[in-house]
């Protein structure tokens, strides 16, 4: 027997929920965008980046993994929570080497778009690690610039669960944990440019690159030239 649909509240708005839905899924369906980086449509939830943090019944939880429940009261767009999200996004800029004006992901990049959405307008005073890892250009059709990787794991899940391959995996621990290919370099894996893991939608940043695409899309026609990240979900709202 399935339990009946219910309602719960996000930022003072009552929205419908279905059993088994996460807070984020229910919010999406209702046209409420909750910021996210590691979660991606069609991939299993990981709950790693914490950018989707909301307050549910007074507790901080990840909206991408926390189930929605009847009468739950959720806070998302509060100054306090957005500050926390901004801090997390800022840290990702500190850990990687991000020079947006020369990055071919610019305008299509979820990290950059999230920084704009969260009003990350000025650099912080903390040091930037600015790693200078060599590019992996060994594959004829794919290049990797791991200096821009945010360890979201989307490529790992896409490769395992959708492509059934396992091209990518985590190595190291803690702040040193990062994504690597399962082989000496990309040419020594079974990665193909047609893999879902390699597609433009999976890597949120400019780390996994399809060779020879470069800057072919003019400024003005890139994904986030059309609106801030989340606008498609918010635009789909009935009110």
């Amino acid at each position: 027997m399935t339990s009946p649909d219910f309602t719960f509240v996000i930022d003072g708005r009552a929205i419908p929920g279905k059993p088994g839905q996460t807070i984020m899924e229910a919010a999406d369906a209702a046209g409420i965008y909750i910021p996210r980086l590691c979660d991606h449509e069609g991939l299993r939830h990981q709950g790693g980046c914490r950018v989707c943090t909301v307050k549910a019944a007074g507790r901080s939880v990840s909206a991408c993994t926390q189930p929605a429940a009847p009468d739950l009261v959720v806070e998302s767009e509060t100054p306090h929570i957005n500050k926390l999200r901004r801090d997390l996004v800022e840290m990702l800029f500190h850990e990687g080497n991000h020079l947006c004006p020369i990055c071919e992901a610019s305008g299509n990049c979820e990290l950059q778009a999230m920084a704009y959405r969260l009003d990350m307008t000025a650099p912080t005073k903390m040091p930037y690690l600015e790693p200078c890892r060599e590019l992996d250009v060994s594959h004829p059709d794919i290049a990797l610039d791991t200096n821009r990787c945010i360890s979201c794991g989307r490529c790992i899940r896409a490769s395992q669960d959708v492509d059934h391959k396992g091209v990518f995996g985590y190595v190291g621990r803690g702040i040193h944990r990062r994504v690597a290919v399962n082989g000496s370099d990309l040419a020594h894996t079974d990665a193909a440019v047609t893999d879902h893991a390699i597609s433009a939608e999976v890597c949120p940043v400019g780390c996994i690159l399809r060779k020879r695409v470069g800057f072919a899309t003019p400024i003005g026609e890139r994904e986030f030239d059309h609106g801030p990240i989340g606008h498609e979900i918010e635009g789909g709202s009935s009110d």
Binding site: P101, I102, K211, G214, P218, I219
Partner: protein
């Protein structure tokens, strides 16, 4: 016995590379030697190694905050060659040309109104507070208004072709990523005639100044040299975007002609001197003493056979009259030459705006990959060479750039020395006027120094006078 002395002029701010002038006096306070030190670019050639070839035209824009578009296009031209594309689709080439003319126009306008006009209107010896664009606007509001509007027109052209005013992405290997939609074209057409009139007025101002000050112009940093630029392959016309290399000597004799620029390293040698990070190129067959040359607006006026737009061509004829058709070797005539080029760019932009190819949709060509490519363009400040090698994995393994400031290195050093000899020798103290004269000589070449071009109207300068043992005799400082 009096000791030899060293005068040092160095900019206080170091935003994008920096320059420093040292003037060596002998025991009798006569100028022995003058050197312009510029630190820039070398690190970049290493940085670009290992990057992907299609990133290069975008990355190189970070070389220079003042003419990023020139680097963008020169790199894109080199990458066209590497991608096996010798002929771009017409829409792509014309969009790039439009971008380039917009860039040259806005750069020249910036230089003329913001940096040269204060010197020209108020004199080089005027106090620093007077020598800036704000004073120009105060005394001549209409001129100020036009300067801003013309610069904006050029920048809007850049935005329409590259997507952004700075750090755009328009040119991609083998083509361009956009065309010019009709509404954007019509907005430019609506003001192009006004731009053309204003360009003629500004040109008249530069010409009048030069002619009225013929004595100053003839003696200020004026010395014979060779001149080099691209000219149009078919007929030797001025062509800022593409062509073959032509070099003439100081009296107009041909040194080389119709030279494929991919062979630049066969005719040019890049000399290294221990005191400078910037190289000193010279023409191989003439040797380092006689083979140095100048590039830039005046060099182009000297090398080209004619200009293919009527108004600018008539203006060129007037300029040529000054020297009865022979090359003009006076540093200060660069201002006049620059404004002829502004008019040429406006005429070219008008021609392009009427060309339906700008609305074409065939934007990019492909070809057989090559290992090496050179792209050369005539940037606002002169000839600009980008040379790359790329491996089979699409990453850059070699990069050599010769920027206009490097081509002009020897010429600028000579100009500084020339001015120093005439204005500084025998002086006991450093005066504001002395600083200004050295500054004006450097600035006439419009070098890519933030100190020379960013500060509106004045370079932040520090000048120090040392004795032979390094003891400080006199010091003078001025900040922007």
């Amino acid at each position: 016995m009096a000791e030899p002395r060293l005068i040092e002029i160095s900019p206080v701010t170091r935003v994008e590379g920096h320059g420093k002038v040292t003037i060596h006096l002998d025991a009798n306070n006569q100028v022995d030697e003058a050197r312009l030190h510029i630190v820039e670019f070398r690190g970049f050639e290493r940085f670009i190694r290992g990057r992907l070839l299609w990133e290069v035209p975008v990355i190189v824009q970070r070389l220079c905050g003042i003419c990023p578009v020139s680097h963008h296009l020169a790199a894109a031209k080199a990458m066209d060659v590497i991608c096996g594309v010798d002929d771009l689709p017409p829409t792509a080439e014309k969009m790039r040309r439009l971008m380039h003319y917009g860039q040259v126009m806005q750069s020249h306008v910036l230089h003329f109104f913001h940096l040269a006009a204060p010197d020209l209107l108020f004199g080089f010896g005027a106090p620093a507070e007077k020598r800036n664009i704000f004073e120009v606007i105060k005394e001549n509001p209409e001129l100020g208004r036009r300067a801003i509007a013309m610069r904006k027109f050029g920048q809007d052209i850049i935005e329409a072709t590259a997507g952004k005013k700075i750090h755009g992405t328009g040119a991609i290997p083998g083509g361009i990523n956009r065309n010019l939609p009709v509404p954007a074209r019509d907005a430019f057409l609506a003001v192009i005639d006004e731009m053309c009139l204003w360009a003629q007025d500004a040109l008249a101002l530069a010409r009048r100044y030069t002619q009225e000050h013929d004595h100053l112009v003839a003696e200020f940093a004026s010395f014979p040299s060779n001149h080099m630029s691209l000219v149009r392959d078919s007929d030797g016309a001025l062509d800022l975007y593409h062509g073959k290399l032509r070099a003439l000597n100081a009296v107009g004799g041909t040194i080389f002609e119709k030279l494929d620029y991919a062979r630049y390293h066969e005719v040019l040698v890049e000399d290294v001197r221990p005191w400078s990070y910037m190289k000193f190129p010279f023409i191989k067959e003439l040797g380092p003493e006689k083979g140095w040359y100048r590039v830039g607006p005046l060099a182009r006026m000297n090398t080209v056979s004619f200009i293919d737009t009527p108004l600018a061509n008539a203006a060129l004829a007037e300029l040529k009259q000054e020297t009865s058709g022979a090359p003009n070797n006076s540093t200060l005539v660069n201002h006049w030459a620059r404004m002829i080029e502004v008019l040429h760019c406006v005429e070219k932009i008008r021609e392009l705006l009427h060309d339906p190819d700008l609305q074409g949709t065939d934007l990019r060509a492909t070809g057989q990959r090559r290992e090496e490519g050179t792209g050369v363009i005539e940037a606002p400040r002169g000839n600009l060479i980008h040379h790359y090698k790329v491996d089979e994995n699409d990453t850059v393994t070699y990069c050599n750039l010769i920027v206009s400031t490097t081509h002009n290195n020897e010429g600028m050093n000579r100009a500084v020395k020339d001015v120093a000899v005439k204005h500084l020798s025998g002086q006991e103290r450093i005066t504001e006027g002395m600083l200004n004269h050295v500054e004006v000589a450097i600035r006439a070449y419009d070098p890519c120094l933030s100190c020379a071009t960013h500060a509106l109207g004045q370079m932040p300068l520090q000048i120090e006078l040392f004795d032979a043992d390094g003891g400080l005799l006199d010091s003078r400082q001025r900040s922007a």
